[in-house]
Structures are given as structure tokens and as C-alpha cells.
């Protein structure tokens, strides 16, 4: 297993005594979807993996190595948010290049890496555009181009496509799935749309009250489960 999370506990400061606890593993080349009601802890789990939040206890291993003690930037993790992935005043090339070297002192190889990433996501020719000149789908493609150049082992998608229409969302999820398989990354996709999970993942976890209460093959979880919580969430009760 590439990403392994064990007994990862977290309690929001000042919150009620409910403690979140997660156990999970994601294989290389797999996109695991996380679904569940708002406030159930899906994004919190991603924030713990990325390092934006510090767990109270537990471990996060990537390829067998503990990463929970590492600073954010040194973790083998990259994240795509729903919005504000790009700096609005910088052109697309620079937005991607910041993912390679924050001082923007790029070698010829790194330049080529960025060109290739943009090319593979059909973004060539748009390098000098500012994010404001692009559609929502194109902006998320740029964020994915940065994922490519960063070459991290774990990809976190925090409702990354929630603001897009159904067709664009499906197109980008398919793209992500292919990218994850090709690069042998481990990906976690948080979404409110069960259909996203059906497209992206063979396995899906249902999160509620800070716990993963079901982790099953996606179709089975969404269409055949007897769990009241899941059926209530899906509206099929």
C-alpha cells in the first residue's frame, strides 16, 4: 500500500468532545473517493494528510515512511482545492512553475517539464494568459498541470471539481484517473456527488461524524448498501 493512515485522531480546538479518527489505505494508482454529509470530516482528513492540521495521534505513512512529522512543503503530497488554486495576478506558466521551484529559478529541464505538462493537458498556447481569462474547467486543468510537475506520490482533491458543470466534471475526473494510474499516485477525492465516485473510484469510503463508517466497492456502497446512514445520505431510504 502506498498511503496508509492508522488511528489518526484529531479534535478541533474548543470543539465538543467528539474526536475524529481515521484508518485508511490507498494503493498506488488508485483514486479512493470520500463521500459523506457536510462537516463529517472529509476535508479535515485531507488537511491532516497535507499538514495544514496537526493530528493529536496516529500515523500517516507513504510507501512505509512516516510523514506526519514533516513540514507541509516536504510532504510527498499535492492538493487541489475547489477554488483559489491559482494566483490571479500571475500567468499560467508562472502558476505552474511555482510548483517546481518557488524562487522561479528554473533549469532547462524544468522548463521542458512544465511545457510537457501543459501540453499533456491541452493547455499549450495559453501560457501567458491570466487565470481570470480562462473558464473554470481550464483553471482546474492548470492546477492539474502543477500536480504533474510537482511529481508527488499522493494527490488530494478537495471538492476540486464541485464548481464545474456535469460534463466538465466528468471529463476532468476521467483525466485525473488516467493521470493517477499513469503516475502510480495514490489519490483521495472528496466529493458531494455520488456520480463522481462512480466515475473515479473502484472503492469509496463513507464518512460521518469524523469516522469512516463504510469502505466498499463504489457501486456496492452507492447502490446496494443496507447501511441506514448511507441510504439516508443518498436519499434512497
Amino acid at each position: 500500500m502506498m498511503l496508509e493512515i492508522g488511528a489518526l485522531r484529531y479534535q478541533f480546538p474548543g470543539a465538543d468532545p467528539e474526536i475524529m479518527q481515521f484508518d485508511l489505505s490507498v494503493a498506488a494508482g488508485e483514486v479512493l473517493s470520500l463521500i459523506g454529509p457536510s462537516g463529517s470530516g472529509k476535508s479535515t482528513l485531507l488537511n491532516l494528510i497535507a499538514g495544514f492540521l496537526k493530528p493529536d495521534s496516529g500515523h500517516i505513512h507513504v510507501d512505509g515512511e512516516a510523514i506526519e512529522h514533516l513540514p507541509i512543503a516536504q510532504r510527498p503530497v499535492t492538493i487541489v482545492f475547489q477554488q483559489h488554486n491559482l494566483f490571479p495576478h500571475l500567468d499560467l506558466y508562472t502558476n505552474v512553475a511555482l510548483g517546481v521551484d518557488p524562487s522561479l529559478k528554473l533549469s532547462t529541464e524544468q522548463d521542458q517539464l512544465i511545457e510537457d505538462a501543459l501540453d499533456s493537458l491541452a493547455l499549450s498556447g495559453l501560457e501567458k494568459r491570466k487565470p481570470g481569462e480562462l473558464s473554470g474547467g481550464q483553471r482546474q486543468r492548470i492546477a492539474l498541470a502543477r500536480v504533474l510537475v510537482r511529481e508527488r506520490k499522493v494527490l488530494l482533491l478537495d471538492e476540486a471539481f464541485a464548481a464545474l458543470g456535469p460534463a466538465q466534471r466528468e471529463e476532468l475526473i476521467v483525466l485525473v484517473k488516467a493521470l493517477v494510474e499513469r503516475k502510480k499516485m495514490a489519490a483521495l477525492l472528496v466529493s458531494h456527488q455520488p456520480r463522481d465516485a462512480l466515475i473515479a473510484s473502484d472503492r469509496t469510503a463513507f464518512v460521518q461524524n469524523g469516522r469512516i463508517i463504510a469502505l466498499q466497492p463504489t457501486r456496492q456502497l452507492l447502490e446496494e448498501t443496507d447501511l441506514v446512514e448511507v441510504r439516508s445520505y443518498l436519499g434512497s431510504l
Binding site: F12, P13, G14, N47, A50, G51, F52, I72, A73, Q74, V77, T78, I79, F81, H84, N85, F87, P88, H89, L90, T94, L98, G99, P102, S103, L104
Partner: protein, 521 residues
């Protein structure tokens, strides 16, 4: 603890020393020559009782006369989204924020003084003049504080009201009053506080002992009566009053964000055209514009050429510019670190600490410049010649005076930046210089430029601490104008005031344009 937080705590420590050391000076009253314990029984002094009463009375009247009409004017602006010159009038209402007090005083004298367009004769000097000047400054400020409260009313509420056939009274009762009532006491108290600590206006328009406030009384005790004991007692009284008002303001926590930019805010209100509303705006516009127009006319028809060819005046202008720029750099740097730390703490959910860090930048509201100046005077006068240290002292105190403005104008943009991009920057290892140069500077330079421009203009126009420590050799333009007024050289003072106004506006424009640049966000 991050680097920014460490820097912020250093700034707070410096601020604490700058405030507490002069306080130590004030509290070591007992060692001053001529001190008697009964000096502390201020309530037995008719003079001090009268000064306290007048300070509070003029501040109360000024606050009411500024804020009550401001409600009408802000409402008129909010409900009239598209009338000609709306934007120009809003710009005019931003102007008093950067017009030096002493320039406004010259404008007031030019309109209401003997020989002015609306002559009030000798009755201008005293409470009348003070109120006229305070309303000139604070009515536009209150309008700009209140206007966003109307603009915060959702568009759908206006549409619903229209659909349900609400009358004007019903709109006020159910939409407008609930939207403004929480912010109103905060605005009233802020204006009260500003008028309570007003110095230049009372110094120049006050009419002798019966129209003296605590601030001016402190100055007179130090510079004319050579009575540091009385100055310290008055400073301690002023400190207590300010502390009391500041605590009440903090308890309210409902002060709306001021739109400091002199550009006009976009109106989202419905366009309820009304002749009466326009008339209200017009009257307020004339009230604010008249002193400036009159000053301009008087100065141009006076000895302007003689003033602008005077080498001494240009030397004063150079000193004014140096003090303004020094204060701006210091204030924006300190504000940057305080806001950076506050935003980081808020992002981590430590809201109470974030607020405390931010509030520390507004300490000058509690400890007015004249009180600080008096403390510094008492503390240092035994060891150094304080008059030869005038520039550093004035720069530091003016930077502290500018800090609340930096926090209000730069704060919202920095908080938004932090909220949007902190996680992204962390995950991309963007920090320190790289983050500043690639992310923060391009996105925040407009707010930084505005803050720096505002502090520079305020510091250049300050007639407070410079009056306490300045000498003829170190006179800035505001002090020079005050000296010209004292010598009854009214035409020269008017011309110098126009020069100062021009310099302040020019510096404001240059900094805002060339540091602020175009909006990248």
C-alpha cells in the same frame, strides 16, 4: 511560532516600551520639582474642572452634530445610486481624511471669519469654531463609515420590500434601521474619541481658557506655563478618559469598516431618486467643499508668490516631507508584521489572540499623542535635550498615530489573502522573500500604497507633537502656519496652508499611484 509572528511580537514589545516608558514618566510625577500631593486633587481646581467639562461637552456636541446629519447623508448616498457627480461628491467626502487640521482651520476661518463669505466675527473663536471644524472632519468620516451598512442590505430585501409595497417609513423601520443600529454607537463613540483628543483645531480656534480642552491645556502647561506637574496631572486625566471610551468601543466590537480610499465605493443600493435626498447631499457637499474652495481663492489672491519663493518655507516643506515619509515607512512596516501575525493566528483558529495582536496597533487611541509627548518630555528632559530629538520623536509618534489607519486599510486585504492562499503557499513551499515578491506584494501593493499614502499625508499635516517639541529651527509647515496665525499674518498663513495642502495631496497621489500601482488582484 513563525518568523512573522516573532516579528509581530517584537513590534508589540517596541510599542509597549514606547507607551509604557512615557507612562512611567507620567507616574514618576512625585520627583518633579514643585510637586505637592494636593496637586493630584484636581477636582479642587476650578480651571481643571472647567477644562474637563469643556473637553467632554465639545466632544459630545461634535459627535452628535457630525453623526446625526451623517445618517441622513449616508442614507441619501445609499438610496441614490446614479445621480450626476455622486462619485465626485464621495471623493470630496474622502478628502478631509488627508486634509491637515490646520489647513481645514484656515479654510474655516476663510469662510466664517471676519471678511469671509459667512462672517461670524469673534464668535467663530471658541465653541462655534471648534464645532464647525470638527463637523467638517467627522461628518464625511461618519458618512463613509455608515454607508457600507446600507450597502450591506441584500438586494433581494429591497426587492421584497418593493413587492410588498413598503412605504419609506416601513423600509426604514424594517430594513435600514436594523442594518445600521448595531454600527451606530461605535461610529458615535469613535467620533467622540477623535474630538476628545483633537488638538490642532482647539489650539487654533479655541477661545482662551474658557474654550480649552485637556489636550490643549497639557500643551499650554508645558510650553507656556512651564508647569510640568499640571501637564502630567492633565495627561493622566486625559489618559483615563480615553481608556474609558476605548473600553466601551471595544465592548461593542461593531465598528464598521471604513472605506478609506478616496475613490468611490460601488453602490449596490436601489435607486430611489428623491429630490430631498439630493438636497441633503448637496448641502453636506457645500459644507465640506466651501472651506477648501474659499481657502484656494484667498490663497491665490494673496501673497502666494511671496510664500513659494521663501527659502525658509521650502526648508520647512522639506522637513514636513521627511517626517511624513519616515512615519509612513515605519507605520506600514509595523502594521505589516502585526497584520501578518494576526492573519496567521486567525487562520489557525486562534481568534482571540489574533484580535489582541491587531488591537495592539490601535494603542494610540487610548494614549493620545500629547499624553505620549508629555510622558516622553518628563522622562527624557533630565537626560537629553528633547528639543534636539524632535524628528525621531515626531516620526515615531506619528507612525503610531498612523498604525490604526494601516490596520484598517491593509487588514481586510491581508486577511483575505491569507485565507485564500495560505494553504496553497504552504504546500508550494512559498515563504519569506519568495512569497512576498511573487504573491503578497503584487496582490497587496494597492492596499500598501493606500496605507502609506494616508499615513504620510496625516503625518505631514500633524500639528500635535511637533507643537510640543518644535522650535523655529525645526518648524514643519503646520507649525509654521500656527506661528503665522499667532502673529496675525493671516494671508501668509492661508498661502502656506495651500502649499501644505498641495504637498499632502501630491505625496498622497504619488505614493498611491507609484507604490499602489494598478490593481493586480
Amino acid at each position: 511560532m513563525t518568523q512573522t509572528e516573532r516579528s509581530a511580537y517584537l513590534v508589540i514589545a517596541i510599542l509597549a516600551v514606547l507607551v509604557l516608558a512615557p507612562m512611567g514618566g507620567l507616574l514618576s510625577l512625585g520627583r518633579l520639582p514643585g510637586f505637592e500631593p494636593q496637586d493630584l486633587q484636581f477636582w479642587q481646581s476650578t480651571y481643571i474642572r472647567r477644562v474637563i467639562f469643556f473637553s467632554l461637552w465639545q466632544a459630545l456636541l461634535s459627535a452628535l452634530l457630525s453623526v446625526v446629519p451623517a445618517i441622513l447623508v449616508a442614507r441619501a448616498f445609499a438610496l441614490n445610486g446614479n445621480f450626476p457627480f455622486r462619485s465626485l461628491l464621495l471623493r470630496l467626502f474622502g478628502l478631509p481624511l488627508v486634509v491637515p487640521s490646520v489647513v481645514a482651520v484656515m479654510g474655516i476661518v476663510s469662510v466664517y471669519g471676519s471678511g469671509g463669505w459667512i462672517p461670524l466675527g469673534r464668535s467663530l473663536y471658541g465653541l462655534n469654531g471648534i464645532l464647525l471644524a470638527h463637523v467638517f472632519f467627522n461628518l464625511p468620516l461618519a458618512v463613509r463609515l455608515l454607508l457600507p451598512l446600507w450597502q450591506g442590505i441584500p438586494r433581494h430585501h429591497w426587492e421584497l420590500a418593493e413587492q410588498m409595497g413598503f412605504s419609506g417609513w416601513h423600509r426604514w423601520r424594517y430594513l435600514e434601521w436594523p442594518a445600521i443600529r448595531e454600527g451606530l454607537p461605535g461610529v458615535l463613540l469613535l467620533v467622540f474619541m477623535l474630538c476628545l483628543t483633537s488638538f490642532a483645531v482647539v489650539l487654533t480656534l479655541g477661545g482662551g481658557p474658557k474654550s480649552t480642552t485637556l489636550e490643549v491645556a497639557i500643551y499650554q502647561s508645558l510650553r507656556f506655563d512651564f508647569d510640568p506637574v499640571q501637564a502630567v496631572v492633565l495627561a493622566l486625566l486625559q489618559l483615563s478618559l480615553c481608556l474609558l471610551v476605548a473600553v466601551v468601543i471595544l465592548k461593542m466590537q461593531k465598528l464598521p469598516e471604513v472605506e478609506i480610499s478616496i475613490s468611490s465605493p460601488a453602490s449596490e443600493s436601489r435607486d430611489y431618486r428623491s429630490l430631498l435626498n439630493r438636497l441633503v447631499i448637496l448641502v453636506a457637499g457645500i459644507y465640506v467643499g466651501l472651506p477648501l474652495a474659499s481657502l484656494l481663492i484667498d490663497a491665490l489672491s494673496g501673497p502666494l508668490a511671496q510664500v513659494v519663493t521663501n527659502e525658509y518655507i521650502w526648508q520647512s516643506a522639506g522637513k514636513t516631507l521627511m517626517l511624513g515619509l519616515g512615519a509612513a515607512v515605519l507605520s506600514v512596516t509595523a502594521g505589516w508584521f502585526l497584520l501578518g501575525a494576526s492573519s496567521q493566528l486567525a487562520n489557525r483558529g486562534q481568534l482571540r489572540r489574533a484580535r489582541l495582536v491587531e488591537i495592539s496597533g490601535s494603542i494610540i487611541y487610548v494614549v493620545p499623542p500629547l499624553v505620549l509627548g508629555t510622558g516622553t518630555f518628563v522622562l527624557l528632559s533630565d537626560y537629553i535635550d528633547v528639543f534636539s530629538w524632535v524628528y525621531p520623536i515626531v516620526i515615531v509618534i506619528n507612525a503610531m498615530m498612523g498604525l490604526p489607519f494601516v490596520i484598517r486599510s491593509l487588514g481586510p486585504a491581508m486577511r483575505q489573502n491569507q485565507m485564500r492562499y495560505q494553504n496553497l503557499c504552504s504546500s508550494l513551499a512559498l515563504s519569506g522573500w519568495n512569497r512576498f515578491i511573487f504573491i503578497d506584494w503584487p496582490l497587496l501593493r494597492r492596499s500598501i500604497g493606500l496605507s502609506a499614502a494616508l499615513v504620510a499625508a496625516l503625518a505631514m499635516g500633524d500639528l500635535g507633537v511637533i507643537a510640543l517639541f518644535g522650535t523655529p529651527n525645526t518648524a514643519t509647515l503646520p507649525l509654521l502656519i500656527y506661528q503665522q496665525l499667532g502673529a496675525y499674518l493671516i494671508p501668509q498663513a492661508t498661502a502656506t496652508a495651500l502649499l501644505l495642502l498641495g504637498l499632502c495631496l501630491l505625496v498622497f497621489w504619488i505614493i498611491e499611484r507609484y507604490i499602489g500601482g494598478k490593481d493586480d488582484a
